[in-house]
């Protein structure tokens, strides 16, 4: 799992390096700092399971096995991108690996995941659906509606809530009462919840495995709350500590808690070097592929508005 996290981190850092070239002309919500929930949860899934995500979806897509080449090509707006240049960073998809899709309207992909779970339920399929959501999604009405629907139909869906404490620059403290957790909200819908350290990938994996097992047994939906932290700005490649919306102390404490560095002792420097080099090669190839790919041709493209 450390290799998967390292790969995601290095992809995101490659985007950081290349973004100033202004060739990736779409918003990017980088997952730097939030790799563990994606990797820990996706590592616990079976090949048949389905995943949906939100605006900050690079880590989820990559952890699920989505094509790196097609993701980068999408960021470059190329015809070889995973949506052929129609969606961009906020609309990743790779149905072949069960990554149904990500969409950026907060909370909005959650009922769609419940619908995917309803399909599994109606057809008696042995698969679960995972949807990644953030702390702010818990403030949207549609998420509560969705939790209720999942509970009333006992659907095989795992709500994976990454609490990174901020909705853009607005802290949780101005958005939700201090005495109530995100899990409390899900519990109120009669859904079993599990909370954990979202920067500890092994803990995440254990929680997700337990949840996966329970859901697969027909226990119904489970909500997991994972505390984590975004180390870069909300949207874009930069640090934004200069804005002052979060304290230096808070930032430093989370940086000390970096999910990858916490596991650094589990991998030797030699091995890390080898792994890093392999990932670097893969990323370079993917970037070369993306850059060399053609743009979609507005003269010949058939816009797929209708089937």
């Amino acid at each position: 799992m450390i290799k998967d996290m390292l790969r995601i981190r290095m992809v995101e850092e490659a985007i950081v390096d290349l973004y100033p070239e202004q060739e990736m002309r779409c918003p990017v919500h980088l997952s730097i700092g939030q790799e563990a929930p994606a990797v820990g949860v996706c590592s616990a899934l079976g090949t048949d399971d389905w995943v949906l995500s939100n605006h900050r979806s690079h880590a989820h897509y990559l952890a699920r096995g989505g094509s790196l080449e097609r993701m980068l090509a999408e960021l470059y707006g190329k015809a070889t991108g995973c949506t052929g240049g129609l969606g961009g960073s906020m609309h990743l998809t790779d149905p072949e690996v069960g990554f149904i899709g990500s969409t950026p309207i907060v909370g909005s992909s959650v009922p769609i995941a419940v619908g995917a779970a309803l399909t599994a339920h109606l057809r008696g399929l042995d698969r679960i659906v995972v949807v990644f959501l953030g702390d702010a999604a818990m403030e949207t009405g549609v998420v509560h509606e969705s939790l209720n629907v999942a509970a009333v139909h006992n659907l095989p869906v795992l709500f994976c809530c990454e609490n990174n404490l901020y909705s853009v620059y607005s802290p949780l403290s101005v958005r939700q009462p201090a005495h109530r957790t995100l899990s409390d909200l899900a519990s109120g819908h009669g859904i079993r919840t599990i909370s954990g350290d979202g920067n500890d990938v092994e803990e995440v994996y254990e929680i997700a495995s337990e949840a996966h097992w329970g859901i697969s047994q027909g226990d119904g939906p489970i909500f997991i709350e994972l505390s984590t932290y975004r180390l870069r700005e909300h949207c874009g490649p930069n640090f934004d500590n200069d804005l002052g919306y979060r304290s230096e102390e808070e930032y430093m404490s989370w940086q000390m808690n970096d999910p990858i560095e916490r596991l650094a002792g589990k991998i030797s420097w030699n091995e890390r070097d080898t792994v890093t080099q392999d990932i670097r090669d893969e990323i370079e190839q993917a970037i070369a592929f993306a850059k060399a790919s053609e743009f979609p041709d507005p003269e010949i493209i058939t816009y797929p508005v209708y089937r």
């Binding site: 949506t83 009922p111 309803l118 109606l122 549609v142 209720n148 797929p304 209708y306 089937r307």
Partner: protein
């Protein structure tokens, strides 16, 4: 051999047929399995197909729209039913951001075969939030098909075609059409989702009716006939895509077009039709395209006020006469026992 059934029964037969034909079809909506079964259109379906395929929902229109979408992209064919258009507005986020765009924004990799039925209310004090007819809002969004069947025959054939279609279809059904009876074939048949229908041929003026307004246009055409004016009545029925070809063909014949929309005039389908006719059929026009519809204020509740709200046959006929440079002013109908807030004297509220 005539087998007359109502519009509501025709809708129910369409659902019944699709549920029987395709195990991926399911029907959900508030009140779908209740004793009244969405004004009769879903009665008995749960008994026949069971609670897994025909079921009631929590009062969460937005989430259930996303649920329908999520299941559709995974292979199901959901039909989501709302007892009023107004109630479905809480699902506008899912409809506009997700349902209409999913196929497009993921580059055609996933089909979205789903139908959302919504009922348009009228009369008996339905008022500002039970009688909105918002077809123009839906028709504005690329990715939707929007249909408003007027006849029982079309209701059944279009609903079957909509459920079998691989695109999201918004089906708007006028409450006052539910009791209309006509011959409807048994079994399955399809009515094209892309075409308007000429329900009465004529030569002097084209009346384009939207949903229930087609009924009023037909009544107007009878008034016009009495004074020797031949009106062609076109039932628009397909709101998006618009059957521009058939509209222009009719205008070519008559040179005059009056659109009677079951909605506000400003920014509505009547504006779109006038624009299309002006752009592509300008040479054929003898007079400027005209429009009738609802005034620019929400539906009032009191029957005294609601009586003045909806276009009536005599007003449609008078407008046509004016377009022909004639002076006939048609008189309001003699209603007998009927008030204008009920479709006929036997039709009592609440509804």
């Amino acid at each position: 051999m005539s087998r007359e059934i109502t519009y509501a029964e025709a809708l129910r037969e369409a659902l019944d047929y699709c549920l029987e034909q395709d195990p991926d079809v399911y029907v959900m909506g508030l009140g779908v399995p209740d004793p009244k079964g969405v004004f009769g259109s879903t009665v008995g379906l749960q008994d026949r197909y069971g609670p897994r395929r025909v079921f009631d929902i929590p009062l969460s229109e937005n989430a259930l729209t996303g649920v329908a979408l999520g299941s559709a992209i995974c292979g199901m064919r959901p039909v989501l039913v709302h007892q009023r258009v107004d109630f479905a507005l809480t699902s506008f986020e899912q409809l506009v951001n997700q349902v209409s765009k999913w196929h497009y924004m993921f580059n055609g990799q996933m089909a979205v075969p789903m139908v959302v039925r919504m009922v348009v209310g009228r009369g008996w004090g339905q008022g500002p939030q039970h009688s909105q007819s918002l077809q123009a809002l839906f028709a504005h969004i690329p990715g939707f098909r929007v249909i408003m069947p007027t006849t029982p025959h079309d209701a059944k054939g279009m609903l079957i075609a909509a459920i079998e279609d691989d695109n999201p279809v918004i089906c708007l059904e006028h409450r006052w059409l539910y009791g209309v009876r006509e011959h409807v074939p048994e079994g399955g048949y399809r009515v094209d989702l892309n075409t308007a229908s000429v329900v009465r041929p004529g030569t002097d003026v084209t009346l384009i009716g939207v949903s229930y307004m087609t009924v009023e246009c037909l009544a107007a055409s009878l008034l016009l006939e009495e004074v020797g004016i031949s009106a062609e009545v076109v039932d628009l029925r397909s709101i998006r895509p618009l059957d521009v070809e058939r509209i222009l063909e009719s205008v070519q014949r008559t040179g005059r077009v009056l659109t009677v929309d079951n909605a506000h005039v400003a920014g509505g389908m009547s504006a779109e039709i006038s624009a299309v006719v002006s752009e592509f059929g300008f040479d054929q026009l003898k007079v400027a395209p005209q429009r009738l519809g609802f005034p620019d204020y929400p539906t009032p509740t009191s029957p005294a006020l609601a009586d003045r709200y909806y276009p009536l046959p005599h007003e449609i006929a008078s407008k046509c006469a004016e377009m022909l440079g004639r002076s006939e002013i048609f008189k309001p109908p003699d209603l007998g026992d009927r008030r204008l807030d009920q479709p006929n004297a036997t039709y009592h509220g609440p509804f």
